[in-house]
Symmetry: C2
Subunit: 322 residues, 2 copies
Amino acid sequence: MLIDGLQCGHFTRETFEELRRGGVTCVTITAGFWEGTMESLDALARWRELIRENQDLVVLATTAADIERAAASNRTALLIGYQNSNLFEGRIRFVELFAELGVRVVQLTYNNQNELAGSCYETEDSGLARFGREVIDEMNRTGMLVDLSHVGNRSTLEAVKHSKKPVAITHANADSLFAHKRNKTDDVLKALADNGGVIGCATYRNITGDYYCSTPKAWAEMVARTVEIAGIDHVAIGTDRSHNFAKPDYDWMRQGRWTRGIDYGAGSAARPGKVPPADWFKEVGNLNLIPGGLAEVGFSPEEVAKITAGNWLRVYREVFGG
Amino acid sequence: MLIDGLQCGHFTRETFEELRRGGVTCVTITAGFWEGTMESLDALARWRELIRENQDLVVLATTAADIERAAASNRTALLIGYQNSNLFEGRIRFVELFAELGVRVVQLTYNNQNELAGSCYETEDSGLARFGREVIDEMNRTGMLVDLSHVGNRSTLEAVKHSKKPVAITHANADSLFAHKRNKTDDVLKALADNGGVIGCATYRNITGDYYCSTPKAWAEMVARTVEIAGIDHVAIGTDRSHNFAKPDYDWMRQGRWTRGIDYGAGSAARPGKVPPADWFKEVGNLNLIPGGLAEVGFSPEEVAKITAGNWLRVYREVFGG
């Protein structure tokens, strides 16, 4: 089994076929970044339809058992995720409604501070705010996974401690291995492990660096060092791979409707646009090179199984319930 | 069993206790009149919460089996309905989402023409419009009951013929028995019967008249005459009873946001406000006087069972599915 904790972009039948060729068991997709309730419902309805239209290749998963059934029927399970909490538009009761509609992963905030928490790109992270605590409680109750990837380190730490269920950093790396605002400090990763949560190690070049992007073995070295920090039960895959993204998509991701200026997201003025994928990760099916890389750096078959699927499955089971 | 095809107003724990005292098995509640998607989701979320908070008395029903289980556990099953289609805000895909969230009854339009159909209060009824046909198809697919009570007679007839599943006139009477814009002509009632649908006979004084409101037997006479028109398998109860309604509620029902003037709804300048309930229907628990009234006018026990519950249950089973 091979589970990717986060991808984004425009998925098509061709994307699903690639995922099948790579033997990918499960992917959390991104159904929105800045969109409010109406736009998020639109996106959700279209995702449900896209999945139904391609049900020979993919299946909408809402439980760990769904993922196991997808694997058994040679299909890729898709978990519906949002990289921001704007879908709730400040309404605590909408958490339950979106959960019932199949949403399973929501990031507290994306690149900007909001009413829930501080973001990794803000100068000052105020910590977890009042509505953020309410939403985490409600996500715990309704079986949604709290994603803290773009959340600031202080807010992340407070969210990890507040949540009664395991949480996730679906797509980021260890800041001590590659220094970047998007990456997580060792104290955060240790707290995540105490909480029973999981970090999905990214392959996105801007937050991974050229060395770890060079070969499956080099990327696996990064994973091995992350395991040294967080433990073998708390490290998994979260590539942050995007599909069919063009400039308007990057503009939307980064600038949304919040600025008339330019924002580089995880990039910089020197590296403004789309960056090349990891050298070994030319197409999404190359995910199947990961188990070999992990073996090369010394992980046992049992450890490889945890990193590639078992750790995500355990968290999904605990968080999503039956 | 005693099923009421439509009530409205603000339900409280006291309302639920009254329903229990009356032995009422199932009620379709009104979660909205003019509200758009956001407000309708708010209302839906609050209804779900209200039902959960009173789960010793009531249960959210989405199938006929749920209603039978509620009866077995001495609770009242509640079906969530809207008296207008504004909850969809013109988005065909939202039908599926609201169905999944538990909505089971939607009226195509309330007192005004909209993008689906003409209303009983419009001078000219254009008939079922393009979006109306789309919504009926989608409601058929997703297991929602099409309600045509306030819809104009021409649009009602076209909707009855268009629908592949039985439809409902949840709360109206026969126009030939009491002439009123809100009531339905005999040709509509005969077409409804051909479609397998059901009309819920109302007790609302403005559309029932003082005579049929005088005693349970008088009201049962109206039901008996309706059965002569539509047949014993197509007539049921739909009181249109409202709970805890005050002037602001009537203003909202009638004027919504569509006029700065005054609209009397089913009333008139001579009878502008709240009208008294039927003389025999002082509290909602008096619904249990209906079986006796029906027996008095000569219905057999089997016929009484069809009118008070069996006909609704059959339609719910056919429309909602498993």
